[in-house]
Amino acid sequence: MDQTLEAFLLSWSFDPWVVVPTLLGAACYGRGWLALRRRGLRRFGALQLTCFLLGLASLFVALASPLDPFSFLLLQVHMIQHLLLMMVAPPLLWLGAPLLPMLRGLPVAIRRHWVSPFLRLPVLRRAFAWLTRPVVAWILFIAATWLWHVPALYERALVSDGWHYLQHACFLVTGLLFWYPVVQPYPARPAFEGWILIPYLILADVQNTALSALFAFAEKLLYPHYAEQPTLWGIAPLQDQATAGVIMWVPGSLIYLVPLVFIGHRLLQGGTPEHPRRFPAKLQRISLPVTSTVPAKGAATSQLDVLDLPLVGRFLRWRHARLTVQLLTFGLAAVIIADGLCGPQVGAMNLAGVVPWIHWRGLVVLALLGAGNVFCMACPFLLPRRIAKRLFRVNRAWPRPLRSKWLAVALLVLFFWAYEAFGLWDSPWWTAWIALGYFVLAFAVDAFFRDAAFCKYLCPIGQFQFVNSLASPFEVKVRDAAGCLQCATKDCIRGNETSTGCELHLFVPRKSGNLDCTFCLDCIQACPHDNVGIVATPPGAALLADRHRSGIGTLSRRLDLAALAAVVVFAGFANAAGMVAPIVDLEYEAMARFGWTSPLGVISLFQLGIMLVLPAVLLGLAACLSRSWSRSERSLRQTVCRFVYVLVPIGFGMWLAHYSFHFFSSADAVIPVTQRAAADLGLNLGEPAWGACCCVVAAPWLLKLEILFLDVGLLLSLYLAFRLAAENQQRLGPTLRGFVPWAAVILILFAAGLWILFQPMEMRGLMQG
């Protein structure tokens, strides 16, 4: 095969920022399309599905196929790319009538709380109606086409990524606007006479012909960039330009002519558009077709329930599922402890220096983001607890004075402080001893006390999980609240012969949110009515109501829980800041100034200051201002206890950004470490390639992903703060005054998080770390 052609065919980029949205778009549409078909809406047939998927495919080809890298070498390739963006993808996407399937395909919570309200915004509806008027859409489309072909702008886009993205965005958006009146995707209402489309398309074709002719017949190069490019396939630059003109001319004209023929035919037949002039009453509000139709059978379970998923659900329902996973994690913990105690005491060469601090932490936060408190479900420390329960069969309750989170807060602060102060990540020996200590403590506590005292009142990892899982998308909850009203046995909390019931004293019908829930699934196993599931829930929604929660109480009265949330949030920033160069430099500078020989004092001051003093000051100040400005009747303490949780999403965003950075940039560090550990046991898994995981430049998408985590955290935190500020307020003014101080705290945290992300981070766990 021709070398150039072979290289062309292999030059796919598979950029995650193109692949992931394309797949998500296809999945969302497919899910909605299936749901609408099941409800008997035959309007959404195979043709719509095919068109939409083809539209997505043409976008993908334009942006991720060899067309993109070769567009900088050949104008004709660039022309094909632009044709796909402006004239192929938009009409195909509209032919898929994507509004209802896309809406129906979104998770219920996102659709109801985030998308539908915006769809009903009169300002946006008016703006869109104006933009899709034939005259406006035509002018925008033609302006985009001609302006971007002006040599100065075109050349600019060829050398600047930012301008190139903008050019593509302009082409796609104006293409979508232009083709909207032509396709009139359901449920669009044409606000103009059909014959207008005839001059609309003919005039578009005329300008296309004029521009094409400019390219085809020009005697000099319009874009000097292409004169500098190497010659491919023997195509001279001027010849390339003429071919680009022909591509624009012939296929371009055909694309205008095909709908022209259809529309002309329809008008000649005297037909009217198939869409109703007005929506049927039930479609007057855009969300009605998808949210207000008669529920299908089993409507109570219309929300996504993990237990209903084909393989995962079946596994989770299996009685021994949790034990199986725990045995696996226990085995892994044993190997890590053994290597930590007996292996080389270099963090980057030891399983105890790599797996817990790079992989486990990364996977734990990613699991929190995607599912929920998966770690507690698979916790290896529960095995010694089980043994202790079997051996000692105690019935002693946890001491009443200790039934709060204060001890857990202290342990959590101690852990975060020790992590920084003693560089735990770089000490396999300490890591192994901490894990061993955990096993011993879990065994000892549960040998003395009944229920899950260790999990509820002590475990620092568990507390971290409980707080951050407030921002998770799944919750263990009842499927049908009415079903629980008739239940007399309450097995989910009391237990029965098959299961112990909830050891953390969470009565599922009165449970709200993921606080204190270890995802142990005991309630699911115990419920004789199969009425408990792992149900999708809007992240943070459980915080909006301040009702009494089983096993927790009322959040606004629990200062210990508020302190726990504050520590988890601010520790996320302290932990990440502790590893960036400017902070480390500052610490050494302070050390020199105080004349200290060890950094322990400075690190302790910094960490404890950020984890304890800063939240006390910031939250106290915000609560004071919020309370005073909004003239709230809540006490200062209640205000802090109520609002502190709005910071959880931004804090979780920081944890995610930090831990996912280590995970994604250093995941392959486990390979040479495993090879080394295997070699110590006499197994040959190959020579450890230490250099392969050293000094790797972080993938360019990683920083963007980290920022995205913070962005989403920011939005969710602001939203929750606004909703809480609006509680019991009738007017917007007091709501805003109550909201502003908390928004300021959230924005400060966001800015701090961004600053941290933009600093060079140490590559912990790698050979250079």
Binding site: E6, D15, W17, C28, D161, L754
Partner: protein, 170 residues
């Protein structure tokens, strides 16, 4: 009525390609039996993650060549750390090129050598590169942290709209 379509489709499908390699042509000459074209990215060339790509073609036929190895050597003219990297096809998105992606640490003028070893024997291309100061990262990534302003603005519109309705109704 169909505002979301624009929002959802455009947000989901915004063209966010990353130019993996290629970029600005820095050198295009015949070097012995080869026609060598050197591209650099980003434009302007500056400190930070950079890409230097080579296209090696037959000098006569302009046919891209298989089995070519290229070693890049960047020497800072004002002194400093030399950079030596291997350009490979595996690192390139456009498989016509041999690409080297690395972190350039200092601004200034670099005297560059590309030692090429191909089917027609060895050859060397020499050229200079000017690397500018590193842009602050926010300059590159402002869109990534500024986009929340859009949903915040939309939410504000929604809230104000509702508030207006309440006032009108009362």
């Amino acid at each position: 009525m169909n505002t979301s379509r624009i929002a959802v489709v455009v947000l989901l499908l915004l063209p966010v390609t990353v130019r993996g390699d290629g970029g600005t042509v820095r050198y295009a000459r015949d070097c012995g039996p080869y026609r060598v074209t050197v591209f650099t990215s980003p434009t302007p060339f500056r400190v930070g993650p950079v890409d230097v790509s080579l296209l090696v073609q037959d000098a006569k036929t302009h046919e891209p060549l298989e089995g070519v190895r290229a070693n890049l050597h960047l020497l800072p003219r004002e002194g400093g750390v030399d950079v030596e990297v291997l350009a490979t096809r595996a690192a390139a998105t456009n498989k016509l090129y041999l690409s080297a992606k690395f972190e350039l640490t200092a601004a200034g003028t670099y005297d560059c050598k590309a030692d090429i070893d191909g089917p027609a024997g060895p050859a060397r291309a020499t050229f200079t590169l000017e690397a500018g100061e590193k842009l602050p990262p926010w300059g590159d990534l402002w869109l990534w942290f500024a986009w929340p302003i859009v949903p915040i603005g939309l939410f504000a519109l929604l809230v104000l709209g509702k508030s207006g309705n309440v006032v009108r109704n009362s």
